[in-house]
Each structure stands twice: as structure tokens, then as C-alpha cells.
């Protein structure tokens, strides 16, 4: 029983990580029809900005305060980087989807290479509050505390995004834009501002995933963004492209499936996720069309 509880909570933690990346991907695709292969770069930039900042704040104690400040810098860096990508690289290629794919794939490769060039391939460790490394006992299982942080962050992001979409003017514009972008502009609304906002949100969420992944996986590596992006893409496809709620559910399903199968079938977790994707695509072939404006 305790093993099952442990697998469930760690699976939810993994799903939370996927959701942090997938939420931005899904919104960007839903509103703009852009498959953003550079989304993992936002994660990498956020994680390394947090690590770099933390490494320069040695004089500040306690560690929790350093971690918080570094995380905030990481989130800001993710947001700024995402906005610059939208303004400089995506906007000139509006509606030119092939070129967008080429540019975002190129940026993903370039970001990884740049980080490797500056800081090398070695893992980098972000100092975190001691509580993160502890465990909490639930039904006999000792759950690593950082998993609660991952789950809490994902739930908070989901609630904040839902509230933003439901109660703000830009949320209204984004919901309408996902349905029919041309009609939104025909109402006199500059939908490009919504594009930038969605990229900024995606950048913050991915950077948060970058910071938290440094705790979950105990370190930061240049390739982390790319590896998590693959699962995030699987999540947004299973959850239906452009659907935030669908991505949330799919994140949980993928995270849990991976953990359960990895434990009970010794290391077949990744394969189970790919099979799950294949099953969804076979059962629902239109899923790749998604919900886009």
C-alpha cells in the first residue's frame, strides 16, 4: 500500500512538471497555431538563470530566501526570453508554419549548445531549502517533500490560468482567439498583444518547471528542456492540442502511467507513454488537428 501511495504522489509530481511545460505549449498552439519547439529553451533559460543567480547570492541566508530570489529571477528570465522569441522570431513568421517550426527547432538546438558552451555539460545543483530534501509520511509512505511543491505549483498555475482566462479582458480575448482569431481582429482587437501575453505566460510556467525540475531530478543539465518537452508534447496531444483542461488531465495520466509501469514492469514507463499516445491517436485520429484559431 505504501509503495502504491509513493508511486501515486511521485507520479502526480511528475505530471505536475509536465503540466507546467505543457500548459504554455497548449495555449500557444491554441491561440496562434504555433508548434513551439523552442519551449524547452524557456525551461533551460529559467533554470540556468535561477542557478546562476543563486550561485551569486552566497552572502544571503537563509537558503530559502536565496532560493526564492533565484527562482523569481529564473521566472522573469523565462518570461523575458519567451517574449523576445515571440516578438523577434515568431511574429515576422505569422501564418508561415513551416518556417516557424524550422526557427523554433533551430532555437532549441542553439540554446542547448549555447548553455553547453558557457557552462559545459556538467550537472549544476541549485541549493534548495532543507525541507525540500525531507519526506512526509502518508499512509506509511515517505513522500519526498519537493513532490508536494511540484503538485502545489501546478495546481496554483492551473487555478491562476483558469481565473485569468475567465475573469480578465485578455483572458476573454485569448478564449475567443482560440476559437476564431480573424473574428477577434474584426472586432477591433489587436490580437498580437494576446500572442505576446500567452508567450510570457508560457515562459514563466516553463521556467518554473525548470526551477522545480532541478529539485525533482536533483540537478540542472543543458538537455533537460528538450527531454521534458518531448513528454509535454505527448501530453498536449493526448489532452487535445489547445485545451488547457485536457492538458491538465493528460499530465496526470502520463505521469501516473510512467511511474506505475516503471515500477511494476521494470523500466517500461517511457514505452507505456508512447503506447498511450499511439492508442489516443488511433482512437481519436482528429486529435492532431486540435483546437486552434
Amino acid at each position: 500500500m505504501s509503495t502504491f501511495v509513493l508511486l501515486t504522489v511521485t507520479g502526480l509530481g511528475l505530471g505536475a512538471m509536465y503540466f507546467l511545460v505543457a500548459s504554455g505549449l497548449s495555449l500557444i498552439y491554441g491561440l496562434m497555431g504555433v508548434l513551439n519547439f523552442a519551449h524547452g529553451s524557456f525551461l533551460t533559460v529559467g533554470a540556468y538563470a535561477a542557478w546562476f543567480t543563486e550561485s551569486k547570492l552566497g552572502g544571503i541566508s537563509p537558503v530559502a530566501l536565496r532560493f526564492l530570489l533565484a527562482s523569481l529571477v529564473g521566472l522573469a528570465a523565462g518570461a523575458v526570453f519567451a517574449v523576445l522569441v515571440e516578438l523577434i522570431l515568431i511574429r515576422p513568421l505569422y501564418l508561415r508554419h513551416i518556417e516557424q517550426v524550422l526557427v523554433t527547432v533551430g532555437l532549441a538546438l542553439a540554446t542547448t549548445a549555447l548553455v553547453q558552451g558557457i557552462w559545459g555539460n556538467d550537472s549544476r545543483i541549485l541549493a534548495t531549502p532543507r525541507w525540500f530534501a525531507g519526506t512526509t509520511e502518508v499512509a506509511g509512505a515517505h513522500i519526498p517533500n519537493d513532490r508536494w511543491v511540484d503538485i502545489g505549483a501546478a495546481l496554483l498555475l492551473l487555478a491562476a490560468l483558469k481565473a485569468f482566462l475567465r475573469y480578465t479582458r485578455y483572458g476573454l480575448v485569448i478564449r475567443a482567439g482560440v476559437e476564431n482569431r480573424a473574428m477577434v481582429t474584426a472586432l477591433g482587437i489587436d490580437v498580437r498583444r494576446a500572442f505576446t501575453i500567452v508567450f510570457a505566460i508560457g515562459g514563466v510556467a516553463a521556467a518554473l518547471a525548470g526551477v522545480l525540475s532541478s529539485v525533482y531530478f536533483t540537478s540542472i543539465t543543458p538537455g533537460r528542456g528538450t527531454s521534458l518537452l518531448i513528454y509535454a508534447f505527448i501530453v498536449v496531444v493526448i489532452g487535445r492540442l489547445g485545451s488547457l483542461g485536457g492538458s491538465a488531465v493528460a499530465s496526470v495520466v502520463v505521469g501516473l502511467a510512467q511511474q506505475y509501469v516503471n515500477y511494476y514492469s521494470t523500466g517500461l514507463g517511457d514505452l507505456s507513454v508512447v503506447l498511450l499516445l499511439a492508442l489516443v491517436l488511433l482512437a481519436r485520429p482528429a486529435t492532431l488537428a486540435g483546437r486552434t484559431a
Binding site: 478564449r175 480573424a182 481582429t185 472586432l187
Partner: protein, 232 residues
């Protein structure tokens, strides 16, 4: 009357097809100009080209100011309301949210639109996707009327509606025509006769006739321009 909209030598090419081939016409301030023609001659494309919703060449000016280089949202903010052919209401949004989204600057005219379409007030919290076709059409018109407009572009407002609803929409158009300048695309000549003060007829992407609304009383002309069966 003052010149409000001027379209000069407008060309649109879509998917290898030369849809508009040098369309030129003018809309004067006040009244309703009906844009007529057989199916597929480029009426809807003309409205979309005025708004910049399709790539186009040529000149378009509103009240003397060239607008052909401006993005769609800025053209609309100059005071153009648009009722698209397929309504294009946001199905996942409520009636209230559809209207809120349409609010531009200044005070939205909720009393005006709820006066024209009281049903929309009663269904404010209903998702637009669950409305009937007629109700969606009312919402599409209300959305355009919510702001004061210099020009309304209305594309086939009675398309696909039951006869009783056609009468309602025609009555609403008559009321709108008293206060707003409109460029109307409409296949139902009965409706056009009730509201049009001038007409522009397109054929194969070109303007083949311009005249007053009274021209529609000439059955021979109507048959020649729009095909047999249109004259009544």
C-alpha cells in the same frame, strides 16, 4: 452627401483564383448601399478585403483616409462594424461575453441592441454555441451595433433563416438604416428593396452596375444583372 468609403481598383487573389479583378465603387454617408451579384462573384471577399481580412491590392479609403495599409483591428477602430456571413459568434463564450468582447472605446450601446433584440438580454448567460441560427444572427448584428459606427459591413444577415426570422432581421435592418451607413451583401431582394438606397452589382469579380435602390424596381435590369427569377 459626403463620400464615406471609396474602393479603387481592388484585386484579391485566393488560392490561384483572381477573385476580385479591379473592383471600384463608392459609398456615401447615410443610407444603405447593397452589394449584389450572383453566388461566387466576390461580394463577401469585397467586404473581407475592405477590412484587410484577405490579402489585397488596390486602394481603400474611409472618410478620405487611406486604410489599405493598416491592420484589420486598426481599420475597425476607425469606426467599422462587421457582421460576417457565417455569424462567427464565439460558440464557447456566453452571449454576454460575446458582447463584452466587442466593446471598443466609449460607452457600449447595450440599450440599443437589447431594444432591437430583447431575447439576447434574456439569454445573456447562455453559451452562444447553444443558440439557434436566428439568435446567433441577432448576436452577430448586436455585436456590430454595440459601438457607434461610421460604417457597417453586413454580410448576408438573412442567410439560412426561417421566413419569420427574415422579417425580424429585415425590420432590424430598417431601424439600423435610419442611423447608420451600411454596406449590405444580401441575396434576398425583398429585404434589399426595403432598405437599399443605392446598389452596386458585381459579376465575375468586377463592378457591372451602380445605381440607386430604385433600379431594383426595373425587372428587366434585375434579370439581366442577377439572373432570371430574382425579379418579382
Amino acid at each position: 452627401m459626403a463620400l464615406l468609403l471609396e474602393v479603387r481598383d481592388l484585386h484579391v487573389r485566393l488560392g490561384g483564383s483572381h477573385v476580385l479583378q479591379g473592383v471600384s465603387f463608392q459609398v456615401e454617408e447615410g443610407g444603405v448601399t447593397a452589394l449584389l451579384g450572383r453566388n461566387g462573384v466576390g461580394k463577401t471577399t469585397t467586404l473581407r478585403a475592405i477590412l484587410g481580412l484577405v490579402p489585397r491590392e488596390g486602394a481603400v479609403s474611409l472618410a478620405g483616409a487611406p486604410i489599405e495599409q493598416e491592420p484589420t483591428h486598426r481599420i475597425v477602430r476607425r469606426g467599422i462594424g462587421y457582421v460576417p456571413e457565417d455569424r462567427d459568434v464565439f460558440a464557447g463564450l456566453t452571449v454576454r461575453e460575446n458582447l463584452e468582447l466587442a466593446v471598443r472605446d466609449g460607452a457600449p450601446r447595450y440599450e440599443l441592441v437589447f431594444g432591437l433584440f430583447p431575447e439576447l438580454r434574456e439569454r445573456a448567460d447562455q453559451r452562444a454555441g447553444t443558440l439557434s441560427g436566428g439568435q446567433q444572427q441577432m448576436l452577430a448584428i448586436a455585436r456590430a451595433l454595440l459601438n457607434p459606427n461610421r460604417l457597417l459591413l453586413i454580410d448576408e444577415p438573412t442567410k439560412g433563416l426561417a421566413p419569420a426570422l427574415v422579417t425580424d432581421v429585415a425590420a432590424a435592418l430598417e431601424r439600423i438604416a435610419q442611423t447608420e451607413t451600411a454596406l449590405l451583401v444580401e441575396q434576398n431582394l425583398g429585404v434589399v428593396r426595403r432598405v437599399a438606397t443605392s446598389i452596386v452589382v458585381l459579376d465575375q469579380g468586377r463592378v457591372v452596375h451602380t445605381g440607386s435602390g430604385a433600379d431594383l424596381d426595373d425587372d428587366a435590369l434585375v434579370n439581366r444583372l442577377l439572373g432570371a427569377g430574382h425579379a418579382t
